[in-house]
Assembly symmetry: C2
Homo-oligomer: 450 residues x 2
């Protein structure tokens, strides 16, 4: 009899459990999670904004889900893994022997050491309890400060605005989303936030968080004090690898080291989700992914392989889409910044178009940027921003990158068209044609050098 | 000096002219068109529905467009082509010698021989004058009959409803869009039309169109008479090839025969758009495409090649999307019916999902069907219907077909996700996983036979 134990019931762990059961009906599967609720952390900002009514709408009883799929669910905290004895121990003292193990311990919010972070009213948004506490507190709040310009920070800035709270974002660098987007796309996001009332302080470090009676009342920067009834840190998350490291499992650039079967360096121990390092499909190098989509795919691979299936994980492109007020912004693969850091010579294709036929009422602007490797003409990255339809295009371009598409392949795209929902000239084709023209120039410039 | 003459200023001809000029700045380009206005015929139903205010919004002066691009524009009707002398003659008697020629004569509405088709109030929708006439007549109309269930017929049924006119569709076969969709997807379109007040008579031939005082007042079927102040034939279009045929240019299955450079069988004579036969990317066989997107791409290829460039045309997938009331429906490649007719063994992947995270307010159903060749696991067709986001997915799947994607490639799609606009489980991935499971069954069934 095969005993699969899974540590963590988030996107990676729960997916692994369900896929394992479907792959091997005879396997006994035990899922250990410290919370008894299952939810998508990505949904929390939208409950806080009021767009989704209440946390009940997004959370389910993990035990109920497990029961349906004949998975044993244990609500407890894992305290140690013994990879020699092949046993997992939990807080209550119980031990769970395993034939194979999946570690899906997720990530922990990253909080830079700052005076005042322990004050009441200072939050990160990682767990459902964080959302609960913020929801309770925002009724009385008038001023919010968001520290950091990652996706959670941006979504929370919008959420506070939608609750009628004044929002100041403090951004250490010169742009929001600077790890995901090139500056001109970050700028579009910033403009959309500011247009909707978010104040953004760029290139501004946080000196201190100040409070009164144990509760935050201001954030101090070199330029002065910003009143704050509520402070949210949205500066990212770090892989939760302590348990794995203590068990002697190899940890790489921050995350657990896994191969293409999602196996760690220890036999029969797999890992998936926010706690692992992933390989970039473009560069072949390790990177952090920490996306729900990556967790689902890695959970699928780990779950199937851990019970005798065979699936390989292909790597990540960090395809991402955000909706901020009336702007959708998406990206996949490498930005120009990323490519330059890798020493890849690029050719850029850009285009500006409309969301539908330009003469159709309600047609809005969309902007696209395709990044190609200039030497082999392959697509390596894309960024899009506009009012709608961004997600489908990002998915297409991610598929194109993963399948080694070249400029001409995109120029030949067999796209569909109808005036009320798409323009007659496809934005991706236009951007590819733009890159093609520049590539000819690029080749001519090279020729002239000889 | 290179003289390029282009016959026809629609999607194919005008694109050819512009791309030719960009490819070869020294070429002298003459565009001959019988109308002095340029417009997208696909937009006409939306002017008739009132969604676009007036024909002025969608039409431009062709001569102005040509002037901007230094293209000579001649408003006249071509009467003959002399491929030996390399001269085109127009109605006014003028002759245009050419170095290379592009025929982009488009299509003509197909009207089955029926008694009463010459009555006033009986229309097809091909030219802007048709739209003008219908717009004038619909003010007084109470009952409209649409004959045929092609895309124009369906869009016109919606347009009449939006103008407060009672609509009856007469459908010779058992389903609308039966050449584009499998029955269950046709059914979704029919349900949406009926839900919005369109009456559809299936398996019903038209016996006669009846009138009084020279104007239509009823359409007669074997089951009775349907009152009609206005009748629209939406039964498709046939390639306009008379001019080419008279000049001795080879015509295939209805359309002009072209190679992958869009060359006809006569030296230096190219053809593009609705008047040509196209190759299916999936089957490698000739078929009609007659889509604006195909016209643009073929016009690009013909235009560039006709002035010394080199581009190949890759064939068609007939990617299509329609918006009918609150339903978007799209398709690309082969339907199951098509595949069966070709003798291709298929495995189907289906999935039903939501347009955004299922807990997000406003999430609506989307249904997808992927058709794979069961023997090489390649994607050969797709159909999607839902409230939104259909076009982007169809484009992705068309790209996947054209690039020989297999089931596992789609299972590995690096899609993006954010609750307000996409679900955490991508519909394409779910459908590919569904096909993969069935394929395993398919293989097991084959094994058991031996």
């Amino acid at each position: 009899m095969h005993d699969l134990v899974i540590i963590g019931g988030g996107g990676a762990g729960l997916t692994a459990a369900i896929k394992a059961k479907k792959t091997n009906m005879d396997a006994r599967i035990t899922l250990i999670n410290k919370e008894s609720v299952s939810y998508s952390p990505c949904s929390l900002p939208f409950v806080i904004s009021g767009e989704i009514e209440g946390l009940d709408r997004i959370s389910h009883d993990l035990r109920e889900i497990c029961k349906e799929d004949e998975i044993t669910c244990v609500i407890d905290t894992v305290t140690s893994i013994d990879v020699k004895k092949k046993v997992v121990k939990v807080g209550s003292g119980r031990e769970f022997p395993y034939t194979s193990l999946i570690i899906a311990t997720g990530s922990l919010p990253s909080i830079p050491p700052t005076q005042g972070i322990d004050l009441k009213g200072v939050y990160t948004l990682q767990w459902i309890e964080d959302a609960q506490a913020i929801l309770e507190e925002l009724r009385a709040a008038k001023n919010a400060v968001v520290i950091g310009g990652g996706s959670v920070g941006l979504e929370m800035a919008e959420a506070f605005i939608k609750r009628g709270i004044k929002v100041t974002m403090i951004q250490r660098s010169g742009h929001v989303l600077r790890r995901s987007l090139d500056p001109e796309f970050s700028k579009m996001v910033e403009d959309e936030l500011m247009r909707n009332g978010v104040e953004i302080l760029f290139n501004t470090p946080v000196k201190e968080i100040r409070g009164e009676g144990g509760h935050v009342n201001a954030v101090v920067t070199p330029n002065g004090e910003i009143p704050a009834d509520i402070v949210l840190f949205g500066v990212g998350a770090v892989p939760n690898v302590e348990l794995a490291r203590n068990a002697g499992i190899k940890v790489d650039e921050g995350g657990i080291d896994t191969d293409d079967l999602m196996q760690t360096n220890i036999d029969d121990v797999y890992a998936a989700g926010d706690c692992v390092d992933s390989m970039s499909i473009v560069t072949g190098k390790l990177m952090l992914s920490q996306l729900g989509t990556t967790a689902i795919r890695q959970g699928t691979v780990a779950g199937m392989n851990a019970v005798g299936g065979y699936v390989t994980f292909e790597g990540v492109l960090n395809s991402m889409v955000l909706k901020l007020f009336d702007l959708e912004v998406g990206r996949t693969g490498l930005t120009v910044k990323d490519a330059e850091a890798e020493g890849i010579k690029v050719v850029i294709g850009t285009a500006v178009g409309k969301t539908k036929a330009e003469y159709f009422p309600g047609a809005k602007d969309v902007k696209i940027k395709l990044v190609f490797n200039a030497l082999n003409r392959r697509l390596i990255g894309a960024q899009i921003a506009g009012a709608e339809g961004v997600a489908g295009k990002i998915d297409l371009l991610a598929f194109a990158i993963a399948n080694n598409a070249e400029i001409v392949d995109l120029m030949k795209l067999k796209y569909c068209y109808t005036p009320p929902i798409t323009p007659s000239h496809n934005l991706i084709v236009l951007a590819a044609e733009n890159a093609f023209k520049k590539l000819r120039r690029f080749i001519e410039v090279r020729k002239r050098r000889f």
